[in-house]
Amino acid sequence: MTSLMKHLALAAVVAAAPLMAATTASAEGEKYILVSHAPDSDSWWNTIKNGLALAGKQMDVQVEYRNPPTGDLADMARIIEQAAASHPTGIITTLADYDVLSGPIRNAVDSGIDVVIINSGTPQQARDLGALMYVGQPEYDAGLAAGQRAKADGVKSFLCVNHYISSPSSTERCQGFADGLGVELGNQMIDSGQDPSEIKNKVLAYLSANPDTDAVLTLGPTSADPTIQALEENGMAGDIYFGTFDLGEEIVKAIKAGIINWGIDQQPFLQAYLPVVVMTNYHRYGVLPGNNINSGPGFVTADGLEMVEKFAGEYR
């Protein structure tokens, strides 16, 4: 029996060690929990984690980052319920699926916890749930800003390479861009599919059929990378006006090489950093901005590339 007891005692000590380490680190005061829908393997969210930690340090509040390890949204709903049960000062969460997450979020709001929606979902959904505000990049507005910028640069017609046509937000990006230019979207948006060689060939076909196209807009690395290849092949690289959403290795290279004029960064750092700052000030002094905050679009051009490269994966 003694050997059995020894096993148990050992188990208890080993199991307790991380807990003790954690409790000593916690401080009194405001506590904010950020819940994301990203699986552990998604490195994009590292920027969010760092932004959160930095805000916690600067504002001197306790912050925690939580996510479902496999990205399972039903698990995420449980995490929001758990976060609410531990009664933090505020919860910052993404709204990846309204059906699954609206119940737990509304429960949190109703039990007196302030909630800020970030990254996904829409400002309208955030308002419906009783959240304080929405911090993200509204897709239409981002497209609109990009279109206005392109118009100022003299663009009159464009090609939108949509690799994810089933997602309404992708279409909003193209529509916003058209509205920013002040032209009809019409058939300037193509459904490129996800296959790189298919995307490349469709872009080539469109540009040879419409040689007077002023600009190309891609919606992310998936469509941007093959489009860069297409432009290099038909000799329009560096000549045609080229903008893209999101950043990626190939996109950064192309910006550097002068093929892409700008990339739109939704600046995830701000999506974690700003809610903590806003809520802390709200809870300390009762001040709250009167509207939602757009974390993007931030335009990355050849000039600002140095910072992007330096802080890539950390804060950018």
Binding site: M1, S3, L4, H7, L8, L10, A11, A12, V14, A15, A16, P18, L19, M20, A22, T23, S26, D40, Q62, E64, Y65, R66, N67, P69, T70, G71, D72, L73, A74, A77, R78, I79, E81, Q82, A83, A84, A85, S86, H87, D97, Y98, D99, V100, G103, R106, N107, V109, D110, S111, G112, G130, S166, S167
Partner: protein, 373 residues
């Protein structure tokens, strides 16, 4: 030696054992000790975090109940000597089928649920049939099902609806009798009374101001408890339970003794699929949508719970009660670490430590019981 003993002398090599020791040395010991340790730890480190208030209790209970539902199936299958790695994919698949049938095709929800159960049982039977027919390790066969089912779970909604999350199940499930069996709540009157009496917290604002934050026991928990009780009785108190032990302990010896090993194994594969579908149905009814990535890695979580609960990976030994305690430990630790404010990436470290401790203890206990050397 041919003159038989009429009065047997006690064998001097069999040490007498105390009553307490006899009571302790059982397959569930690891689970019981683990449960006590885990609750004691969180009572110390997370007591005032809300973990033991109504909302907190409901939170870890629901997570544990989810694990329990799949752990019961995995436990009986493991005792019968087989694995099912397709449990997670089956959860995603079943949930998606219910959503597709009811939302996309517009069938009544009860019909969608029943057809999905039939489909899942057929897939479970097919898994089992392939395993017993080919004699391949179930590890490989169900690994194939893991990919196949997950593939279909992504393919169907994407080709038909052009998206990977199908919502709107809550709306079509309104008033459906079978949907309530999976997504409803019981004892709501009791909780309203508790809320009114001030025994549990109530909402401070919004439309439900004054209503209790926990308004009933979800059917998810009822299903978990029912499955645990049925699983335990079948395993320990029926002929079929003896066959499950025998099939996993030594399939050939069991066959020679007349146990229909193939039938036992196939029905356990079907039961595992059934449990996964119960999990999926409860989830779809609660959250109102099915996603192509639901249930990822759940098969491992089920197996971990079962192993913490004292079952032997190679089959022939284990306990449903132990597996249920393993699921409870799993759920309480997973949610409790959040309550205690531990960095969530440490969850895996913690889980690994618990798994290792439980397996060491379980192996020690099992050797005492079975005389393995």
């Amino acid at each position: 030696m041919s003159h038989a003993h009429t009065q047997l002398p006690d064998d001097e090599r069999i040490k007498s054992r105390s009553r307490l020791r006899e009571a302790l040395i059982r397959p569930e010991l690891g689970g019981i000790v683990g449960t006590i340790v885990v609750f004691a730890l969180f009572a110390v480190f997370a007591f005032d975090s809300g973990m033991f208030k109504s909302q907190g209790i409901m939170n870890w209970s629901q997570v544990s109940a989810q694990f329990m539902i799949i752990a019961v199936g995995a436990c009986l299958l493991m005792i019968a000597g087989e694995f099912d790695l397709s449990v997670g994919s089956m959860i995603g698949f079943s949930g998606m089928m219910i959503a597709m049938f009811s939302v996309t095709l517009g069938w009544p929800v009860w019909l969608a649920i029943l057809v999905t159960f039939v489909l899942a049982l057929a897939i479970g039977a097919l898994n089992g049939f392939i395993v017993v027919r080919t004699g391949l390790p179930s590890f490989i066969v169900t690994l194939a099902s893991l990919f196949i089912l997950r593939g279909f779970t992504i393919y169907f909604p994407q080709t038909i609806e052009r998206k990977t999350i199908i919502g709107g199940v809550s709306e079509v499930a309104q008033g459906d009798w079978l949907a309530a069996v999976f997504g409803g709540k019981i004892l709501t009157g009791l909780f309203t009374w508790l809320g009114n009496a001030g025994l549990i917290a109530t909402f401070d604002r919004g439309l439900r101001k004054g209503q209790p934050v926990v308004d009933g026991v979800p059917m998810l928990i009822v299903w978990a408890l029912v499955l645990v009780v049925i699983g335990h009785i079948v395993l320990t108190r029926t002929r079929f339970g003896n066959w499950i032990f025998a099939s996993g302990g030594d399939a050939q010896a069991a066959r020679y003794a007349g146990v229909p090993v193939n039938r036992v194994k196939i029905s356990m594969f079907m039961f595992t699929a059934f449990c996964a579908t119960v999990f999926a149905t409860c989830q779809v009814m609660e959250f109102g949508s099915a996603g192509a990535d639901r249930g990822l890695l759940k098969e491992f979580e089920a197996i971990i719970a079962v192993v913490i609960g004292g079952a032997l990976l190679t089959g022939g030994y284990g306990s449903v009660i132990g597996a249920a305690l393993g699921a409870l430990i799993f759920g309480v630790v997973q949610q409790g670490l959040f309550f205690a404010g531990v960095e969530s990436s440490l969850f895996r470290v913690f889980l690994g430590v618990i798994l290792l401790c439980a397996v060491i203890l379980n192996t020690y206990v099992r050797r005492l019981i079975t005389g393995e050397r």
